[in-house]
């Protein structure tokens, strides 16, 4: 004899459609989450690469460059400073000028690379000015701030999309629960009149939609992972290109986003089902 047959019968057609919708929403939410994570990671990568680095361009005679290195090295907050050789300067220009290099007769700007604490750029500029050396100091702060603002905006938009998709998911589940309740009002009424408590009846729907949410969420997260992996493969950069954009990769945080998606989808489904069923039951005596 069969045991403990489910009190709610399966509604194949309706649940297949709902499964698809929840799966699609989870895919979009997880993918948006990955985009947000990538945006913040890119901002970190870009800014951390240049954090503490100061580039000084000396415009005066050659002798000023050596004198500037000595002054900069002694400036408070500076850990090291050295004048770039012609080869090092050419290496920097390679992405623009190609592997052919810089023509031998072409004068290159005289550059000094220094490393130091944040804010040391101002001290360097003041020291060089005091020594009467015509130089431009760039501590990349303006560029870093711009990069952070752009990636922060992308991240915020992506997180808003996650929130919107989450709310849409809850609304869809609530609608589906309501439809299921209407379709099986006979069961709900019979249980209610037999003395079942609201929590018991709500629990039937909660379990049904929890499973649906988790399964659809898992599939959606898997699809998001597949899509992200495909994109990473498609836009992978050579080492020569990697200086411009941070190298994208899937990290532990991405795994967390993907792993949590089914759980969040399940919990949201449960929440929506509970709310809808209890609200409907409150209309009964």
């Amino acid at each position: 004899m069969s045991r403990a047959a489910p009190l709610l019968p399966r509604e194949d057609a309706r649940e297949a459609a709902l499964f698809f919708v929840v799966c699609a929403l989870c895919f979009l939410a997880a993918f948006s989450g990955l985009i947000a994570r990538a945006a913040y990671a890119a901002a970190d990568a870009w800014t951390s690469e240049v954090a503490g680095e100061i580039t000084i361009r000396v415009r005066g005679p050659e002798a000023d460059t050596q004198r500037a290195v000595e002054i900069i090295a002694k400036t408070e907050g500076i850990a090291s400073a050295h004048a770039l050789t012609r080869e090092e300067s050419e290496e920097l220009l390679k992405p623009w000028l190609g592997a052919g290099g810089v023509p031998a007769g072409l004068n290159l700007p005289r550059l000094i690379a220094a490393e130091g604490a944040a804010g040391a750029g101002d001290s360097v500029a003041a020291a060089l000015k005091e020594a009467n050396i015509n130089a431009t100091v760039d501590d990349h702060e303006t560029w870093s701030a711009d990069a952070r603002r752009v990636t922060g905006t992308i991240g915020l938009v992506a997180l808003s999309a996650v929130a919107l998709l989450g709310a849409t998911g809850i609304a869809v589940i609530a609608f589906a629960t309501h439809a299921t309740m209407l379709a099986r009002r006979d069961i709900v009424e019979l249980l209610h009149l037999s003395g079942a408590r609201d929590d018991f009846i709500a629990g039937l729907f909660e379990r049904r939609f929890l499973m649906l949410g988790v399964q659809a969420g898992a599939l959606g997260a898997l699809l998001a992972f597949g899509t992200a992996a495909f994109i990473l493969f498609a836009v992978r950069q050579t080492d020569e290109q990697a200086w411009l954009l941070p190298q994208l990769s899937l990290s532990l945080a991405d795994g967390l986003i993907l792993g949590l998606s089914p759980l969040i989808a399940g919990a949201a489904s449960m929440f929506a089902a509970n709310l809808t069923v209890k609200r409907s039951l409150s209309d009964m005596v």
């Binding site: 004899m1 403990a4 047959a5 009190l7 019968p9 249980l191 003395g195 079942a196 408590r197 018991f200």
Partner: protein, 239 residues
């Protein structure tokens, strides 16, 4: 099955000047008062549309009255919160007019449903359910789905479901309405046996005046929104 122990003479069901209306000029019940003694068996008769089913719905707490008081087992239900009604409902077994069996469940699972919602483990009631289905003559149809059962068999599954929790009050709405005379008589004997063996208080709404006359139980007649007790010698004629 063990006998029910109703140790008090408090009416099992008491309606005191109960009215129910869906608007200013649509009284379904105007002024209904009745009282059922513990262990009694009572027929509720009345013409179609007189409000018998509505009165029963008030009794099994599917509706609240718009006037008057409904008391179950000595508890005035009007003042109870929704969540406090569930324990009272568990003490009432209902045989619905249209059976209300769940199509996707077997006869066994349909009968076990009131016990299942209490959270009891299945092992604790499995044999009781099987015995009960045997008692109503369906011991060989445990796995049958409602769609494969005859009208009489469905009715007996519905009765088994109503009594499986050993209710203090059994309410049946036109239980013989969808079956032939012979089956009607068998069902009546089933109710009478429940009433006598378990001391379950039984309230049956019916059109079947022949059955009412044969039965010689208490009879209440509902007409024009009011209930009157019908003496034994005045049970001829129309419901």
């Amino acid at each position: 099955m063990p006998d029910n122990d109703l140790s008090t003479d408090e009416p099992v069901l008491r309606l005191d000047r109960v009215g129910l209306s869906y608007g200013p000029k649509s009284d379904v019940l105007a002024d209904v008062s009745l009282s059922l003694r513990p262990g009694s068996m009572t027929f509720l008769t009345g013409p179609s549309g007189s409000g018998k089913s509505t009165l029963l719905r008030l009794a099994y707490l599917a509706l609240r009255p718009t006037a008057g008081r409904v008391s179950l087992f000595g508890v005035e239900t009007n003042r109870l919160r929704r969540r406090d009604l569930a324990p009272l409902r568990r003490r009432v077994g209902v045989v619905f007019q249209e059976f209300r069996l769940l199509d996707h469940l077997s006869a066994y699972d349909n009968v076990a449903l009131p016990l299942r919602i209490t959270g009891r483990p299945e092992a604790s009631y499995r044999q009781d359910v099987i015995d009960l289905l045997g008692w109503v003559g369906l011991g060989d149809r445990l796995e049958a789905r409602p769609a494969t059962l005859s009208g009489g068999e469905k009715q007996r599954v519905a009765i088994a479901r109503a009594v499986v929790g050993k209710p203090d009050l059994l309410i049946a709405d036109e239980p013989t309405g969808n079956v032939d005379e012979e089956m009607g008589e068998r069902l009546y004997r089933l109710f009478r046996e429940l009433n006598r063996r378990l001391k379950t208080t039984v309230l049956i709404a019916t059109h079947d005046m022949a059955l009412v006359r044969r039965a010689k139980n208490d009879v209440l007649r509902l007409a024009e929104g009011m209930v009157v007790r019908v003496p034994l010698d005045q049970r001829e004629g129309q419901p």
